[in-house]
Amino acid sequence: MSSMMTYLALSMVLFIIGALGVCLRRNAIVLFMCVEMMLNAVNLAFVAFSKLHGNLDGQIAVFFVMVIAAAESAIGLAIILSVFRSVASVETTDAAELKW
């Protein structure tokens, strides 16, 4: 089994675990962590392809994904905090004021 296949399969399975987490969990912070895990799965595929093709473009893409993820985590956690202030919970089922 070649190394490239292993990395791609691992990346895909990690992405699917993250997606399952987003489907199954209700805690907003756990959802946030699952999204981080999906981002990391894609990053792993980027780095593997970067090595396969022998240039650094994939690694640069991962660098920018990390920058965006850092900004996203600051904003996302601030949003979760403000949701917690208004509904006193981080469960996604409790923030249902707009639900019909």
Binding site: S2, V13, L24, R26, A88
Partner: protein, 181 residues
């Protein structure tokens, strides 16, 4: 595939499953730290040295500390209420299996027999040292690099705005909890 790759891959899968199966979000956060560290190890094995260090410092360090701070600030108990129903669980698992079965074979057949270790000529060129990444970043991606600093600045300002905004007090719980920050 080396032994270390195998160990790190299995550890990444186990910690990934642990993230979504712990009931207590704090345990999930620690499992995610382990997951990020194993991925940093895989980066190092793929010659992406700079990214491996960045992964440990930025992801496992800064971002996860932020998550843990919020978790401890909110002082959440273990997820209450009912578990995800059997129908929901079955749908998610079947969906995941369908996704794997449909997406994996094309990818695998495309890269059959193509080993990243066989491309010896390319190994030097893709060595992600700090120098190589820096050169690439400042010669081909200068504009994007500067824009990313703007994105981070907007992120900081936005987070402060969101966290400082005064909200009408609704429940009894949040009064003393968040006032002091």
């Amino acid at each position: 595939m080396s032994f270390i790759e195998f160990i790190l891959g299995v550890a990444a899968l186990v910690s990934g499953i642990a993230v979504i199966s712990f009931r207590n979000p704090l345990y999930s956060a620690f499992a995610l730290v382990a997951n990020l560290l194993t991925i940093a190890g895989l980066y190092a094995l793929l010659n992406a040295h700079f990214l491996a260090v960045t992964q440990v410092v930025v992801y496992a360090g800064a971002i996860m500390v932020l998550v843990l701070f919020v978790l401890m600030l909110l002082n959440l108990k273990t997820e209450q209420g009912k578990q995800p129903g059997l129908a929901q669980l079955a749908t998610a698992v079947v969906g995941g299996i369908v996704l794997i079965v449909t997406a994996l074979p094309p990818v695998l057949s495309r890269f059959q027999g193509l080993s990243s270790h066989q491309l010896a000529d390319n190994v030097r060129a893709s060595e992600g040292t700090v120098q190589a990444i820096g050169q690439e970043l400042y010669s081909h991606y200068t504009v994007q690099f500067e824009l990313s600093s703007l994105v981070l600045l907007i992120g900081i300002v936005g987070a402060v705005m969101l966290a400082k905004r005064k909200q009408p007090q609704l429940g009894p719980r949040q009064g003393g909890l968040l006032k002091g920050e």
